[in-house]
């Protein structure tokens, strides 16, 4: 799958193009209120091509979440620009942003916090349609039901509250909601890291089947190298606010350039031995 993907990815038009992105903000120390500068993103460049699955690797504090927020158009960068399908996103005219917002959706790490516990499943999935005022109420409900089924949840669960679902089901609910406005790009902000292996497998299979059906592009932010290796066409590595490396997956593993990437990969063989040892034990 990876080999095929890399040849496709060179040809596909870029969906999102991030150039020279910078995000700085001022924080205050809790008690003295002394100001200090936080440079969350420093001159970041990244291109994500349509139809591909790209991964973002980096440890906590590297600036991944801030990048996600800028890509989801929730935050404005201090400098730099993002192009979405040839449209400049952060133009002086802010009206263009709200239209583009629906094209990019984020699935968060903790599904429980991303879903309002007071709403029912149906209400949650309907919310985007409600906000965008698409269709009449009955049409919205019908579409919500379709989406629930598409992610593998039953229609009959429409009245359940989020806390009544399991972790994996909640992520699928969040996914259903994200698909409501037919976005082009889905960003997974560590969304699979807290799932148990079984739920993760189910989720990944679902994502694969949805990708072609709905013509989606995926962006997985994670610190789990193993998982990214298995699902992505390209991986970008983020370190202290900047993208230090960005290559097709196979190439990254074969020829890592940056020292950070190499350090990460060095830790990997140990993981492989652990896993292989465990499987060997089970098989014997």
């Amino acid at each position: 799958m990876n080999g095929q993907a890399s040849s496709i990815s060179r040809e596909n038009p870029p969906l999102i193009d991030i150039r020279g992105l910078n995000k700085k903000y001022i924080q205050r120390r809790p008690l003295t209120r002394e100001k200090f500068l936080v440079r969350a993103i420093v001159d970041a460049n990244l291109t994500i091509r349509q139809g591909t699955t790209v991964g973002l690797l980096g440890e906590s504090g590297a600036g991944k979440s801030t990048l996600v927020r800028c890509m989801a158009l929730i935050e404005k960068p201090t400098e730099g620009q993002i192009w979405f399908e040839d449209t400049k996103v952060f133009d002086s005219k802010t009206s263009s942003i709200s239209g583009l917002r629906t094209q990019v959706q984020v699935i968060f790490q903790d599904a429980a916090s991303a879903l309002n516990p007071r709403l029912t499943a149906a209400e949650i999935v309907m919310e985007p349609l409600e906000i965008q005022r698409i269709g009449a109420k009955s049409e919205r409900r019908e579409r919500a039901m379709e989406l629930l089924e598409r992610v593998g949840l039953s229609r009959t669960w429409e009245r359940r509250k989020p806390l009544e679902f399991s972790g994996g089901q909640r992520q699928r609910l969040a996914l259903a909601r994200a698909l409501a406005l037919k976005p082009k790009l889905l960003i997974f902000d560590e969304a699979l890291s807290h799932l148990d292996l079984a739920s993760r497998e189910t989720m990944l299979e679902l994502l694969v089947s949805l990708k072609n059906k709905c013509d989606l592009t995926y962006f997985h932010v994670s610190h789990d190298l193993e998982m990214l290796r298995g699902i992505t066409d390209e991986i970008a590595v983020m370190c202290e606010g900047t993208i230090v490396e960005s290559k097709p997956t196979a190439e990254l593993f074969a020829h890592p350039e940056h020292s950070y990437t190499r350090d990460l990969l060095q830790a990997m063989p140990q993981l492989e031995t652990i896993y292989s040892k465990r499987f060997a034990h089970e098989l014997s």
Binding site: A72, L73, I74, S98, R101, T102, V104, Q105, V106, F108, D110, S113, A114, L115, N116, P117, R118, E127, P128, I131, Q132, L163, A174, R177, A180, L181
Partner: protein, 343 residues
Amino acid sequence: MSRRYKLWCALALLGASHALVLFAGFFAPYSYSTQNRDMPYAPPMRIHFIDAQGSLHARPFVYALKEDSALSGTYVTDHSREYPVHLFVHGSSYKVLGLFDSRIHLFGVEQPARLFLLGTDEYGRDQFTRFLYGGQVSLAAGLIAAAISLLLGGIIGTLAGFYGGWIDEVLMRAGELFFALPWLYLLFAVRAALPLHIAQWQVFLLLLAVCGIIGWTRPARLIRGVVLSAKERNFVIAARTFGASDFYLMRRHVLPQTYGIILTQAALLVPQFILAEVTLTFLGLGVGAPMASWGGLIASLQHYYVLASYWWMFAPALLLIPIFAAYYVIADELQEHLKSVPL
């Protein structure tokens, strides 16, 4: 007493007292301004079932009180005639809920006897009646002032929490300003700024406004806290990615989280403002005669001789206690309940 039981008792008590006060005209045997100059400071009448001869009457009755010819100012019960207590009698006219007239009172006795359940004051006005009517002023003052505070506090807290930045700074500094002043002195100061002789209802309204304006700081601060944490929740961010407007976010996701706090604050503010009104009127700075207010009813207690001899004048003060207790019980229950809600 289990907690649930306590809560229901408190709610029932408040419901009953507000109903009594709302329909004061019906429940009170007399009008609040009717004076009986011939019976100043009459003690409360007792309702009897057994008469002087020892026989039981089906219907309760009272004895008339006559001024003691020997000791002026005290009263002697006249056992010569029983005056039965009737239900649904015709009495002085009043307006039900301010809308239509009625003359029916829940209970009463025939003239010339009087039924003074809580005695009379220096003008011979029935204290029980004045207590019910006074409740209209005092309870309404508490409720309205609390509503104003909560509305102001809610709006300011939501705006400050949601938008942050300089709006937050300015509003919270302003709040600190109000917080720094002792509320009673501020109330005094505003009262001083008002002319002494403006119409009673204007005094009332202005006092409410002032209470409301002073009281917004605490609810605002609490609501701001809730809004601050709510707006960072991932489901709010998600809604933003769907293109939700600020107003939608506030209405659908943020505000529902504040309802609990608003209710708790309401349960705490109402008694505070009732007390504020009562205190001001007690000191002679609030609503004045002939409009009854609980503060006015206990104002005469400042005089030594009243405190010494006429114990029933104390009743309105003591009757405040269960009402306050009920509000605090409700506030406590709400706070406990809030702690256990998953959000």
